[in-house]
Point group: C2
Chain length 455, copies 2
């Protein structure tokens, strides 16, 4: 199916009207997050690859036009002018994996107005959701302080695409693996997973189940130990591991109960059984807060599996993001809506040391000691390079994370670095605001002349 | 792509081991929500249709086997026994749209153990997420108290499948429309949408934009009035509507600011302009809480558009759901894990008046005055009927909602009806627990005989 009809109807009504009015001059839209959610000191740019893939393949086909016409209850012929529309524009974007802050564009699209408008819903969908999940996942990596984190979220993500993305975004921020087989294959991630409680129950007792598992899967094994009584489960696991002469690369997994108490007890049992290199994995309801609490308390946990809360970014499942018209036909644009005022003009972010970021007009020169964050990635509707390897994004994330002020990395009460606006952006914003407000005053005066009540 | 590899790796490791051990006797798994999230007095069963479609088409093909082998780092031949596996089982399910409570199965699968296990991740993904979103959307319908609610969530849902589902689930609980063009077409929903702020800005002033919109879209129009100053915007909208002699079916849309104050002001302006039948639509950050507050305060709002918070079920973005083995080879099963103990046996829910529900064994007889909620929907891997029309689900939801105690419908502090367990289920649970605990005691005794430390 063409992706062009995966859109909000108003994109279609507007594009149709623009074509009718011959308003096809270049428009620039800026996609940015207005404010960071509570509990976030930074965001990890993500969804850019999906956005660019979509734009490069965007085409309104006849089926789309029929869908548009049906949605509007109009004859197909009325919407025919939209048929064949492709994306022919230019795109600037923050490379995936780079850290961004509130008010900084993640993506800027310049294209004939109808094209630039039609793609809004899809771009927002992909960039918002993937950035939200990547940012949550990044905090888990910080909390785990070097210990491996793996993704178990598939069963709880909002649909299958979200599950696929969660696995990839985990990989992007440095997760050690994912349980999602399809995503592991697609993105070259390590697949991880062992057994469920049902497996133990089907065999009737843990020792029998563990032995059968090892028979089916030669090599290192992880045994799930909390189906009945965790301490007894660990003891049985130790017994079977010794019996099979397995230890290196092996682990026990705790999936319920008090992870601090049980990890301490498990470590003691494993060490006493002469299995100091058998690791302890925990899963179940964890995210960065749980991981940080456990490690602060000294829990001897080696691997953290995160699922539900990370895959749905449970404490911040959406971002306050916008795709705003900032320029049309050479004229800078902004809106003044209460609490939602936007800054005009195509932009660039200049990053200095320690995330001293300046949001500036794209035409401005980089202040000394700063580098631009957005780069041009499409012209004439064609990608300039890419698709980008996940490794490149991971490495961009790692560099940015290393440079990020420690306060922005806090788990409990992070403080995002503040961004400045360039003089050029401040000046343009004031100018455009004045132009609009004086325009509004004349409109209001005109409105005052509205004739009396009707009927 | 085959859907079989959209699974957690542990489903594969377990299925492989089961085949190796010839453990292919029938297993029953029960999919249920352990506890309702705070802020929910009921859940709306959803995702069942997706689940059944998946099961009916489930087949492990050669590509899947290659993906499994790659995930495990093993030769493809090792995983070959899984190739060609289909779902050949029986399924009982709650019809979509019916209201369910904590601990009540939404779906029960009985199939040879490897099959029943392999499908777990996908079933949980679809049923959890769709039930979470449908339940949130249902509360918006309750809060709107008869006024139309429409879905604007596409730009914020977690990926495209979630956007598609959110539109459908809105339709399921009685939303009046969706902005999602593709989903509207697919599910026969009314598509809705008008214009964005960018549209106004591109024209430079509201009156010009409104007139152009009406030229492109003959018939009723909705004008967005908050791009600059809402009161001035409504006045201009009224002026253009009168000029064009439009009113019936027309509306103004408020998308920012204080909706109470602005809706009152807008109503006054429209009425004064002789346009009492022009409606007021609001959008922006709303969910059931915002809707209830506005209507309690007397805001003269006619249509509520909900997006972000509903599409991601922001206050409860996941459900504490499980897919648990309750029976294998004729033997009832349960796990005892801390806080996650499950009840054994295939089940049925018998519903009496006012949601006096009894969770019982499937083999029990319906108590007088009750009817069973789960019905058999697949045998031998074939659907018995369906796919089910969305209308049927909507009508099931409406009947159940009408019968639901008022306290469960509360927006602020809902209280779910309590469910009882049948005598048969209580008895079986005690029996199985005893059996397992005595088994565990013998295992523990055996474990005590573990030889001394190694190394």
């Amino acid at each position: 199916m063409s992706t062009a009809r995966i859109t909000d109807l108003y994109e279609v009504t507007m594009a149709h009207s623009y074509l009718r009015e011959s308003m096809t001059a270049p428009a620039t839209f800026s996609l940015f997050v207005r404010n960071l959610p509570p509990g976030r000191g930074f965001l990890v740019a993500a969804g850019i690859e999906s956005a660019l893939e979509y734009l490069a393949g965007f085409r309104v086909d006849e089926e789309d036009v029929r869908a548009f016409a049906a949605a509007l209850g109009r004859p197909t012929a009325d919407l025919a002018p939209l048929c064949g529309l492709r994306f022919s524009g230019e795109v600037w974007a923050v490379p995936e994996g780079r850290i961004v802050l509130a008010g900084e564009p993640l993506l800027e699209v310049t294209a004939p107005l109808p094209e630039a408008q039609l793609v809004e819903s899809y771009l927002l969908n992909q960039v918002c959701h993937q950035t939200a999940v990547a940012s949550k996942a990044a905090r888990c990596v910080i909390a785990a302080a070097g210990r491996p984190v793996v993704d178990f979220s598939l069963r709880r993500t909002h649909g299958l695409q979200a599950g696929d993305h969660a696995a990839r975004l985990g990989g992007l921020v440095g997760f050690a693996g994912t349980s999602n087989v399809a995503a592991a294959g697609r993105y070259g991630l390590r697949a991880v997973g062992t057994m469920a409680h049902s497996y133990i129950e089907a065999f009737g007792d843990e020792a029998t189940a563990f032995r059968a598992f090892a028979r089916a899967h030669p090599g290192p094994v992880t045994f799930l130990v909390d189906t009945y009584d965790t301490r007894a489960g660990v003891t049985t696991a130790a017994q079977v591991l010794r019996e099979l002469d397995l230890h290196e690369g092996c682990a026990v997994r705790l999936d319920s109960g008090d992870f601090l108490e049980l990890s301490v007890a498990s470590r003691r049992i494993l060490d006493a059984a002469g299995l100091p290199d058998v690791k302890i994995t925990v899963s179940g309801g964890l995210d960065e807060y749980g991981i940080a609490d456990l490690l602060t308390a000294g829990a001897p946990i080696d691997v953290f599996a995160v699922g539900t809360r990370v895959g749905v970014a449970a404490d911040a499942p959406y971002l306050d993001a916008a795709y705003k018209l900032v320029s049309y036909d050479g004229q800078p644009m902004m809106k003044l809506s209460a609490g939602k005022a936007t800054a005009p003009g195509a932009k660039q972010v200049f990053r200095g040391r320690n995330f001293s970021d300046t949001v500036a007009l794209r035409t401005e020169t980089a202040p000394p000691g700063t580098v631009p964050v957005l780069r041009i990635v499409m012209t004439g509707g064609q990608r300039l390079d890419g698709p980008y390897a996940l490794e490149a994004a991971r490495s961009a994330f790692e560099s940015d994370l290393a440079a990020l002020p420690a306060t922005a990395r806090y788990i409990a009460d992070p403080r995002p670095p503040t961004t400045a606006w360039s003089d050029g952006l401040v000046r343009l914003t004031n100018d455009v605001r004045q132009r609009i407000e004086s325009g509004q005053r004349s409109t209001n005066n005109a409105t005052a002349a509205l004739p009396g009540r009707r009927g």
